[in-house]
Symmetry: D2
Subunit: 382 residues, 4 copies
Amino acid sequence: MTHKRIRIGMVGGGDGAFIGAVHRIATRIDDGYELVAGALSSNPDRALNSARRLGINDERSYPSFSVMAKQEKKRKDGIQAVIIVTPNHMHYPVAKAFLEQGIHVICDKPVTKDLNEALELKALVEKSGAFFALTHNYTGYPLVRHAKHLVDSDVLGKLRVIQVEYAQDWLTEQAESTDNKQAQWRTDPEKSGMAGCLGDIGTHAFNLACFISGQKVQHVSADLTAFVSGRRLDDNVHTMLRFDGGAKGMLWSSQVAPGNENGLRIRLYGEKAGIEWSQESPNELWLSILGEPTQKITRAGHGAGEEANRLSRVPAGHPEGYLEGFANLYVDIALAIHAIEDGADVRSVQGLIPSIDDGVEGMKFITAVLASSAHDSAWHPL
Amino acid sequence: MTHKRIRIGMVGGGDGAFIGAVHRIATRIDDGYELVAGALSSNPDRALNSARRLGINDERSYPSFSVMAKQEKKRKDGIQAVIIVTPNHMHYPVAKAFLEQGIHVICDKPVTKDLNEALELKALVEKSGAFFALTHNYTGYPLVRHAKHLVDSDVLGKLRVIQVEYAQDWLTEQAESTDNKQAQWRTDPEKSGMAGCLGDIGTHAFNLACFISGQKVQHVSADLTAFVSGRRLDDNVHTMLRFDGGAKGMLWSSQVAPGNENGLRIRLYGEKAGIEWSQESPNELWLSILGEPTQKITRAGHGAGEEANRLSRVPAGHPEGYLEGFANLYVDIALAIHAIEDGADVRSVQGLIPSIDDGVEGMKFITAVLASSAHDSAWHPL
Amino acid sequence: MTHKRIRIGMVGGGDGAFIGAVHRIATRIDDGYELVAGALSSNPDRALNSARRLGINDERSYPSFSVMAKQEKKRKDGIQAVIIVTPNHMHYPVAKAFLEQGIHVICDKPVTKDLNEALELKALVEKSGAFFALTHNYTGYPLVRHAKHLVDSDVLGKLRVIQVEYAQDWLTEQAESTDNKQAQWRTDPEKSGMAGCLGDIGTHAFNLACFISGQKVQHVSADLTAFVSGRRLDDNVHTMLRFDGGAKGMLWSSQVAPGNENGLRIRLYGEKAGIEWSQESPNELWLSILGEPTQKITRAGHGAGEEANRLSRVPAGHPEGYLEGFANLYVDIALAIHAIEDGADVRSVQGLIPSIDDGVEGMKFITAVLASSAHDSAWHPL
Amino acid sequence: MTHKRIRIGMVGGGDGAFIGAVHRIATRIDDGYELVAGALSSNPDRALNSARRLGINDERSYPSFSVMAKQEKKRKDGIQAVIIVTPNHMHYPVAKAFLEQGIHVICDKPVTKDLNEALELKALVEKSGAFFALTHNYTGYPLVRHAKHLVDSDVLGKLRVIQVEYAQDWLTEQAESTDNKQAQWRTDPEKSGMAGCLGDIGTHAFNLACFISGQKVQHVSADLTAFVSGRRLDDNVHTMLRFDGGAKGMLWSSQVAPGNENGLRIRLYGEKAGIEWSQESPNELWLSILGEPTQKITRAGHGAGEEANRLSRVPAGHPEGYLEGFANLYVDIALAIHAIEDGADVRSVQGLIPSIDDGVEGMKFITAVLASSAHDSAWHPL
């Protein structure tokens, strides 16, 4: 079989941005993609310079995403998919522009600014027939996949308790009043939507809990806080959860917890066993079968299943990390896109890839949490 | 100075009991006490046999606690203090009997069956002038004391977030229907009161959070569950907390979380630093000052303060554990009792020792959590 | 059965000493002993004051160990055993004095100043018929016993590699030129013998490797160093080992390794499995059966065997530490002494208790290491 | 600046190989290279198929490395550098062929089959003027660079003790008699040279110790073993080390230690501080300054220096692993090659990149260890 890279473009991700570079590395690791076009910045100079640095031809470095969508559609060698790595409020219009041209969309999270946009986007995706992936990247870690497998294959038994958290410390002080660009837009309701920490990392924790458990959150009771003086969006999220399968849980998310870098951690307990996984030590999954010693399952090591091994590049004991986990999403997205181009139905190939439905769920979660917190933590349905 | 051991008696703690043996070891470690009397069991044979095994003279092995209280009061060499290690529902009548004789009381937690009893007991303590200690033993760990010191001395700055949890797995299955005596009484409302996991270990987590933070919980929003079929008391506790000093928190307590043995763990985050401590690794305290690498402070090691060192027996790197932490309470209780016998006012010497007030707070917590959970998690004041 | 405490005396261990207090706590934890006599210091005032503080009657606080041995022998209620916690050079004469009176001896390690003394002591022990225990206390940790059990029951298969180490940092600087009494005698050849770090902690590592593996070291190749300027005894030990059962190993011991408190750690690898244990986390034993996930076995938890459970006082997850491990030796010593007093042969009851033979082995090890290091690390037999 | 990828070719690394794929990922992560030619297998079919799968044009998929060297030299768009990922015995002839054409060489370790070849290769490199890099990839981990920085900037003070180890378990059984290709050639003296575990992973441990300490090993005392029946090369390495700067150390390397995956771990102790790093947790470096609490320095976190940050792609708490560490070598190799093409002297740009000199040192180490082990562990100079 000859090697065929998927032609991609990118919107956002110019010099100075963070997550765009991460996506680019993730696409390169397994050599399944080729970046050939971009509208990398709303600033034309930065857009062009960034494109040159990335080896994109000048003629395919576009001043605007809408021009890009139309022009690329016309080319025989036009992009097959676009990666959207703008601030949150731009996700919807950009995705719309490309979906309307039938170009597949790979979009960073949270999917949109609010639930209405998410529902509209869902309609657009369905109408377009194009493929839409949401990069809840933590689902790409091999041992997260294995955790899901353990739940799915009933090793844990009926789930009872799900404890999930995502703690950081980088907004402990008022970073948004410095020149920290990341802090500025993430604490600005115009660009982030109504959720701060909740949207930025709380949704990752939420998505991870749903992904592994296979359950949906039905109700939330939430207490949001903006601890830092003058901050306009929440920087700490306390939530109790009730899942549709009968499990109960807690979700804590914070950006004001000194000593936490990217403390995404999940624990699930069922009638027969419990598991624990932490993003900062992603090559280990702890499995405690009731009445037996706790097992340390390592990525690609003994006890890791087929799905974890499929997504491993190097042997156990050689750590894979965040970028490889991200790349795993792109591995599966490439499989999906190739399948589609070979004529398969788009919905049949999504498999484990976070979808527009997951995006909608995330926005429902945000909406419900905001509502519960506004009503003195009364339980609110999603 | 000649060595003077404090003469103690014990109610409960006969053969087959668990916590009584722990108290006895704790009293022996530093040689500050002498066990000379007991009403070790409501079963007279067991009481006598247990007493003999412990080197208590037959004449001071009593068939009932009320006889014991009166007889010991009459002796010149009568006990100075009694240790109460019965099931919860007996704490109140036993404590009452000894307080009325002016004998100091050292009582296991939770202090009573319910809040009313606790308030009555508080009145009795105050009236008696005797000393009353509640063995929330986790406050005795040297690095818990140091954690409190770090908060008190403003190393953390104003506290914002407090995450505390206590997870076990020994009630994952229906152990109360086996011959497990510990499981039987702890899941029986007649003996435990209305709180199961909540009273047994949730109160420890609650007490620890208050002890270290120096703040009181003002409101709780709680969701209690009895996951195991047929169980009459809660086995999982989800609670959001609001403290009087402005901090917010979460408390999770569970006895159905496979893989957890005694997972009592606390994290506190302030404006300037965060700390983390886990009971299963009690010789380490993690201190993260914002902008600096996290420090691993070890018991009796570099960075541990005077209070932690005062309560350490062996050098850093030689682990001290649960029994030593428990013994530390007894060290301080001995100091208090000696001070009292030297004429000091009882209230002036209690210092860091959990008191009847802490017992009342614990019962208020239980009461409020039960109320909140019964009202769909509405915030409830303590 | 009525409780019968063993009457003990102590030589050494007066105010300011370290290990004497440890032994006393260890004897108290399980209430099997009663300290009734002592020659606690060569300084008469300190001896008397120390004794009073410990509740020893003045008449049984002796100015010299030889007087003590004779006087105690004469009493009906004389001590049944003596605990020797002097500096190393006094172990032999003190042990001799008590053995000659037929009094059991419990001696701190290393057993004597040199191999000759150890061999003479062995002859004395055999002649006396009294019981002799050497407090290599790390063998008392429940999971060390379980590790030995795993090896003995062939879970590991034929042993191949044994890596053991004991690292500290308290002699990184020239502490012996300060008023640090512990540092002074431990670096003084007159009091410590010819081995510094080697005798103080290297012998613990050596003993632990032999205890768990059940193998004897046949040859050593060693490289000793005194890194600190002016130090008269080694402060770092590098040794390669060859065991009589075919295993090979390395032993590293150091007192100049900043960041190490009491880093005693052992790993054993056989044809079928490997195990790992660290003294600073003594409640965990890691078992890796080839082809399976590594298991975390906890003290008193799932996977811990009968021997480990026999020596546990509190449930899994409530850490036991150094003092409890030490106390476990005293539990077994008490069993031995009671058995002897009931007429059993002394040799039949020693079981797992480190003996004079272990002491001799330790001195052979020291001697061989010194010889190898003096001969440019040539392999030297024990 | 326009993006200019370095054109590379690869020898070895066809389907079924392991390390070739790792190199390719490492070159792609930061987009500094373009793979355009290869002689990927000695089997012509496999070579061609592998090349096609990698997107190499058929005309640049060569049946032999010597043809490749000559043909590529002739092309205007010929490769600038070749990556050699064959078994060890082929490193020398392949490197020679490309160096003679003035093509830069990036070679996997160990550098050659034996010391003679290494010395000849060194002469060839010097004569050619081309750039030669040896992929001791563990030196590319950001916190390894920071560890070196801490030593270089005297944070540790004069080094005393260096403990390094690399343990695996994959050769615990006789894997070479199965169809495990990796096991077959690594245990075959014809393909691996005279060193088994010693050459495969012992050299990594050796190189890491030298890299961080900045010291050279002067003498070794070694004890090699082949534990597995019938194995022709060592599978366990015990070595004591003496460094030219006065430090002493131990190196343990094993492939028969069940439970170890890639347990490369190093600890360095100086007069003022100690550090510890483990390859399986590469995002943490532990720094213990004498008299202070141990610090946990995280990659890109507080306390990590400029060099570590230069080589980090994602924020602290998002783990980077083995592939990123490997890619860091390629980042620096790209800087070197670009500098050379811009006319800089090749020697001036090597900086921190392992060189032919490191390769020679590694072969000297292997030679000396083999000699020492053959002479009953007598100290042998390098």
